[in-house]
């Protein structure tokens, strides 16, 4: 799997999963199914992170986005009365204009990128055990930000509790 050919194939398969499920997220009529396809889309992005040797980022993507944020969204859909059952049309009369302007933007951007020769691509792969590097840096150089993160998380948690309880009181 380490040769460029199979990595390329894996990249195309993952990209297809991400693009198709992303398209379904914005086109399906049942918002609950949209949320499920959003999870698939984010999982595909995690797969692309793994292809780029960014294992920690992939783990964070799966745990936080696929695990937590999507569950939050699905809960929000399920807890809102009748939202999951409804058929919602996600487009309006501006859909065609929006599509045309998006295509024009992409074509223009690609044309500009093609004409530019100063782009520098990162050809160097990440070191093999970059998760360990992150861990070491977090425990030594970035010790204070690391501890501040926990204070930030506690603040977020208390804020969430206060806001969520506000409705009941």
């Amino acid at each position: 799997m380490s040769d460029p050919g199979s990595v390329g194939i894996a990249f195309w398969i993952l990209s297809a999963i991400v693009l198709i499920s992303g398209l379904l997220v914005v086109s399906l009529k049942n918002i609950f199914h949209c949320a499920l396809f959003l999870m698939l889309c984010l999982t595909g992005v995690a797969g692309i992170f793994i292809l780029l040797h960014a294992e920690f980022l992939a783990a964070a993507q799966v745990l936080v986005y696929v695990g937590a944020v999507s569950v939050l969204m699905i809960f929000a859909v399920m807890l809102t009365s009748n939202l999951a059952r409804k058929k919602i049309v996600q487009t309006n009369q501006n859909a065609l204009v929006a599509f045309v302007s998006c295509v024009a933007f992409v074509v223009g951007a690609l044309w500009l990128i093609k004409g530019t020769e100063v782009w520098k691509f990162a050809t160097e792969a990440l070191p093999a055990n970059n998760t360990m590097t992150i861990g070491k840096l977090l425990m030594t150089e970035f010790m204070l930000p690391f501890e501040v993160v926990s204070v930030l998380l506690v603040a977020a948690m208390i804020g969430a509790i206060v806001l969520a309880r506000g409705e009941e009181a």
């Binding site: 799997m1 380490s2 990595v7 793994i50 292809l51 040797h53 920690f56 783990a59 964070a60 745990l63 936080v64 695990g67 937590a68 944020v69 569950v71 939050l72 809960f75 929000a76 399920m78 807890l79 809102t80 009365s81 009748n82 999951a84 059952r85 055990n129 998760t131 360990m132 590097t133 992150i134 861990g135 070491k136 977090l138 425990m139 030594t140 010790m143 690391f146 501890e147 993160v149 926990s150 204070v151 998380l153 506690v154 977020a156 948690m157 208390i158 969430a160 509790i161 969520a164 309880r165 409705e167």
Partner: protein, 117 residues
């Protein structure tokens, strides 16, 4: 990267076993459909109402608290990977990190958020 090849083989084999089992059972089972077989049932009773119900909003606060501790787990990963080379000081740092977060859990507990009424 090659270690992910075994992950791929594992996933493909797992899917293949499921498909193979369904295929075999389709070959050997009797085929006799009638309308009663397609009816939704609940413990052999007729189902009352719809499955698209509004769930209890109390679930949401648990989901919010889950998100916070999910982010905490993200920080545990690189720490666990690098722990072998860092030693006692890293342990103290992580204990402080978790204790600060534990204060949030304590707050939620004290406010009665975790109580299911």
């Amino acid at each position: 990267m090659s270690e992910y090849l075994s992950v791929l083989i594992f996933a493909v084999t797992g899917a293949a076993i499921v498909l193979f089992t369904f295929f075999i059972s389709k070959l050997i089972r009797p085929h006799n459909p009638y309308p009663e077989k397609g009816v939704t049932y609940e413990c052999a009773e007729d189902a009352i109402g719809d499955s698209w119900i509004r769930f209890n909003p109390r679930f949401y606060i648990f989901a919010l608290i889950f998100v916070i501790f999910d982010v905490e787990v993200i920080f545990l990963f690189p720490w666990a990977v690098a722990f072998g080379e860092l030693g006692l000081f890293a342990l103290v740092e992580m204990v402080i990190f978790i204790l600060i977060l534990f204060f949030g859990l304590f707050y939620a507990w004290k406010k009665g958020v975790l109580k299911w009424v």
